[in-house]
């Protein structure tokens, strides 16, 4: 039994819904009690989809348990087929229906519908959303893909690939697909099928016609691309094109798979390298950043943060254990211990301890950041309505790199602004209790310092309450508010270390000398 308030992932049938909702001409009949229909609003409200997800729920009630829930399932499946006329159907159970063991697969088979029906076994009490999406996509691919003549029939000269992994409710999947298919086209590679997003069951039968597969989101596509490699001899990409360096690596990888020459990489333009090298970005150097998300996005963010923005990664982790290994390896390379957990309280504790200057995380970390008054940008699912912007905002490819620069840097105080803050901090009109403008200006300034004191007091269990001498306290106020929390925490830790009861002006500067910036 796990005690939880917020979860990074929903149950596995939500993953199956993300596949079904992404596709056209596919219908999902879900054996589920009344109330499980809440899942529709994820798609209609958070993602603002204008269509209901193609899901029919049986919505059985307690009184049905005594009679015949299997009959309810059969009539729902029959009704869904007649009303929606899908090319194919997936059938399965949510957590409660799993317990009553009605066997949706067997029941639908008995209906003898004239379309392919794929039964899903998604164990709700041990697996989660990403696993459910991955398993569903794999089952569909396995059930529908059929041997095809290789290569595109009418454009024999150009290599052709599939782009696999994007789903409904994915973090910027819509825009990543556009960016990457555009890039592939520029390279001279055609796209056979993008799936599951926008694909029909019929499209999935054509997957084996491609020369290779681009696995855009391993969380979703990994099992399917491995199957396609084994069954149809299609190799697949391992590089995730997030950031300039990774996008260059991706180009080299796909050109290799396509058997074409790697073009001059300098011909592809991204503003990001110059934005990072321009003088204002000096203030980014060494900014302490905490990264948490799904494994793929967290790994990519760590590379971009350290290599392309010169941030210092002080924390790295992911919530999906399936991707723990590469995240652990990347953390070790950065001299860190990876945080692998799906308990947001552990993540919050790590952030409080590390006091980063920027958090790159999910919606969960956005809330933690808000509470702690730390700037934050979202890099991964789980998603929020804000993560579906009206504008084109990919994470992948060269335009994606521009987007990363903007969205990660804007929450920070700009370089020039930082100097001005230092210059005018004594100005009577420049009252720092007004809070930082980029954080909404709601007096967030002192949250960090409050937090630092609380954490320091609670953390050590040292009985001694530290006393700040008035002149030291005044001096502390002259330190810009955005580093004041850290200064206070460091000074108090220093004083505790030296068994000092009172923090004087001397203590403050001794501590500063011993900690550096």
């Amino acid at each position: 039994m796990q005690l939880t308030v917020w979860t990074y992932e929903g149950p596995p049938h939500i993953g199956a819904m993300r596949i079904a909702t992404a596709m056209e001409g596919l219908h999902y009949v879900l054996h589920a009690p009344q109330g499980d229909t809440y899942a529709d609003l994820l798609f209609t409200m958070i993602e603002r989809r204008a269509k209901r997800p193609p899901v029919t729920y049986t919505t059985f009630e307690a009184r049905d348990l005594g009679s015949d829930t299997a009959e309810i399932f059969k009539s729902a499946a029959r009704g869904a087929y007649e009303r929606f006329q899908p090319q194919a159907m997936i059938v399965g159970a949510s957590c409660t229906a799993e317990l009553i063991q009605d066997d949706p697969g067997g029941l639908t088979k008995a209906l003898d519908l004239p379309i392919p029906v794929i039964a899903l076994e998604l164990p709700s009490y041990s697996k989660k959303e990403n696993w459910g999406a991955s398993e569903t996509f794999y089952r569909l691919v396995r059930g529908l893909a059929t041997e095809q003549p290789k290569g595109a029939p009418n454009r024999l000269t150009r290599p052709i690939c599939n782009v696999l992994g994007p789903t409904a409710l994915g973090f910027r999947h819509r825009d990543d697909v556009r960016e990457i298919t555009g890039l592939l086209f520029q390279l001279g590679i055609d796209v056979n099928v993008v799936a599951p997003l926008g694909a029909t069951p019929h499209d999935l039968t054509r997957l084996p016609a491609a020369d290779f597969n681009v696995s855009l989101y391993p969380e979703i596509a990994d099992v399917a691309v491995r199957f396609l490699e084994k069954e149809f001899g299609q190799p697949y990409t391992k590089t995730i094109p997030i950031g300039v360096g990774a996008t260059n690596d991706f180009i080299i990888e796909v050109c290799g798979l396509a058997g074409i020459e790697v073009p001059d990489l300098s011909a592809f333009a991204s503003n990001m390298p110059w934005w990072s090298r321009s003088v204002d970005s000096n203030y980014l150097t060494g900014k302490r950043v905490f990264i948490f998300g799904d494994g793929t996005h967290a790994l990519a963010a760590a590379r971009v943060a350290s290599d392309e923005l010169a941030f210092t990664v002080v924390g790295l982790g992911c919530y999906n254990r399936e991707f723990a290994r590469p995240v652990r390896e990347a953390a070790t390379e950065l001299g860190l211990e990876a945080l692998i957990t799906d308990d947001y309280l552990e993540v919050e504790a790590a952030i409080e301890r590390l006091q980063p200057e920027l958090i790159l995380g999910t919606q969960m970390e956005r809330h933690i950041a808000k509470r702690l008054g730390i700037p934050c940008a979202v890099i991964s699912a789980p998603v929020h309505v804000q993560d579906f912007p009206a504008r084109y905002a990919p994470q992948m490819g060269f335009e994606g790199a521009n987007v990363l620069f903007d969205t990660w840097v804007h929450p920070l105080i700009m370089g020039l602004e930082e100097h001005l803050l230092g210059m005018f901090r004594e100005d009577f009109e420049f009252n720092d209790t007004a809070g930082a403008s980029h954080l909404g200006g709601h007096g967030a300034a002192d949250k960090l310092s409050d937090l630092a004191s609380v954490a320091a007091e609670g953390g050590e269990g040292v009985a001694a309450v530290l006393h700040w001498a008035p002149e030291a306290e005044n001096e502390l106020k002259k330190i810009p508010f955005f580093v004041r929390g850290k200064a206070r925490r460091n000074t108090e830790a220093f004083a505790r270390d030296k068994h000092l009861e009172t923090i004087t002006l001397e203590t403050l500067y001794d501590a500063k000398a011993s900690y550096g910036r």
């Binding site: 039994m1 929903g10 109330g35 529709d40 958070i46 919505t59 949510s94 041990s126 309505v385």
Partner: protein, 430 residues
């Protein structure tokens, strides 16, 4: 177009001759509704020292964080104990796990005075006896924490019925008292509760208690001299439990709109022998304010047609308010459950030609809605954007349970909730 029935005309409506029987369309099929767990969304805000521990699955936890976007509360007063595969292996084990989970929770949250163990679909299906678990845990934690249980499962409860189940579980805990008093039953926003308190005080009715109260420590006494008003239409079992404790239900319209609020207050005033003149004197000003506030929306809403999908059981009182006080035309009014007794006064005021439906087969109901093409459709969040995309104007029903809408001072706000989508449609030019 505002039609205000003078307060005296609504007197003793329930004594009137029964209206002609109505035909109610009863459907069973896919129900696009929340389960009872969802009512924790407002219950946990209302009861400030209570905690709701759902014993359920990852789906329950996911519902709670998705349904209302409540993640802004960094640590809310609810959580889910997620049943895992190894818990399903043996029942002895699962009770032990629950003990540990509760111990961990109460250690983290020492300020909690009342803990609800909330049953879910999976806990009901595996027949996990949360009643016994609550008794067992009570022995450990009394008197520091009271531990109660109820089921908010989707197989037994629809959305607001979760509150009914929760309050029903609280009734046996209420201290017995022979003193006369009034209990207002059903969670109301604090601001509304305070307004009603002031009115009851001015009427000389008292003592007045609210169930649920803001603090678990605030005991609500009950006995044969207790009279109670239902502030919400979804409290069938709670009413029954209170009646079993000797309390007397005061049937009335629900306090939506000026007419509903007046009738609701009047039911209490009559039961407590408040003179007519005093009632009129106390309610005159707020009634006039409500009329003025409603007047602002009369032009927007008059003659507009309304279609209600079933959601909270507020649909019938709302339809009554919108048709009688704002002149809207009712097409279909759907409700998850129709409690003929509690709805008697409301139904008497609905036009005869409205189609009433109970339960749902969502695809068939969507077909009817598309055929009617109402000016505004009241529906859940899963349906709203798809209907907007089809050119229909919608109002999300969940807002009605999160927004203060009861009483005189909220009449204008309630009308505005329906006027805004219509106004938006006339203003947008993209």
């Amino acid at each position: 177009m505002t039609q205000l029935i003078p307060p005296l005309a609504t007197k003793a409506l329930s004594d009137c001759a029964a209206p002609p029987a109505r035909v109610v369309l009863r459907e069973r099929g896919q129900r696009e509704v929340f389960c009872g767990l969802t009512s924790i969304m407002w219950l946990h805000r209302k009861m400030q020292d209570a905690f709701f521990l759902i014993v359920g699955s990852r789906t329950c936890a996911h519902l709670m964080q998705s349904a209302a976007g409540v993640m802004i509360f960094a640590e809310p007063r609810f959580a889910t104990a997620i049943i895992e595969e190894r818990d399903l292996a043996g029942m002895a084990d699962i009770n032990e796990e629950l003990n540990k989970t509760v111990a961990r929770l109460l250690e983290r949250r020492p300020e909690i005075k009342l803990l609800f163990l909330v049953g879910s679909c999976p806990s009901e299906v595996i027949k996990l006896d949360l009643g016994r678990a609550a008794e067992r845990l009570s022995m450990t934690y009394t008197p520091r924490v009271r531990i109660l249980n109820y089921s908010g499962s989707g197989i037994e409860t629809t959305f607001t019925q979760g509150e009914d189940a929760c309050l029903t579980a609280m009734v046996p805990e209420m201290p017995a008292s022979d003193a006369a008093g009034l209990v207002v039953v059903g969670a109301l926003a604090d601001v509304v509760e305070d307004q009603f308190s002031r009115i009851f005080e001015a009427l000389g009715i008292g003592p007045v208690h609210f169930l649920p109260s803001r603090k678990a420590g605030m005991q609500v006494p009950v006995g044969s001299n207790t009279k109670f008003l239902l502030a919400q239409p979804w409290l069938r079992d709670t009413a029954r439990a209170l009646e079993a404790r000797g309390a007397v239900h005061l049937p009335a319209l629900f306090p939506l709109g000026a007419e509903g609020t007046t009738a609701w207050l009047k039911a209490a005033a009559d039961a407590f022998g408040v003179p007519e003149e005093r009632f009129n004197a106390v309610t005159e000003m707020p009634r006039a304010r409500a009329t003025r506030a409603l007047g602002r929306y009369a032009d927007t809403l008059a003659s507009k047609s309304l279609f209600c999908f079933p959601d909270s059981q507020l649909e019938i009182p709302l339809a009554r308010f919108l048709s009688r006080e704002l002149g809207m035309t009712l097409t279909e009014v759907g409700t998850p459950y129709l409690h003929a007794g509690h709805m008697a006064d409301e139904l008497a005021l609905l036009p005869q030609d409205v189609r009433l439906s109970e339960g749902q087969d969502v695809d068939l109901q969507l077909d009817r809605c598309r055929e009617v093409r109402p000016d505004i459709t009241l529906c859940g969040m899963g349906l709203a954007n798809p209907l907007e995309d089809e050119g229909l104007t919608t109002k999300w029903s969940i807002e009605l349970v999160f927004t203060p809408i009861q009483g005189y001072e909220q009449c204008g706000d309630l009308a505005e909730l329906f006027a805004r989508p219509l106004i938006r449609r006339t203003r947008l030019a993209v």
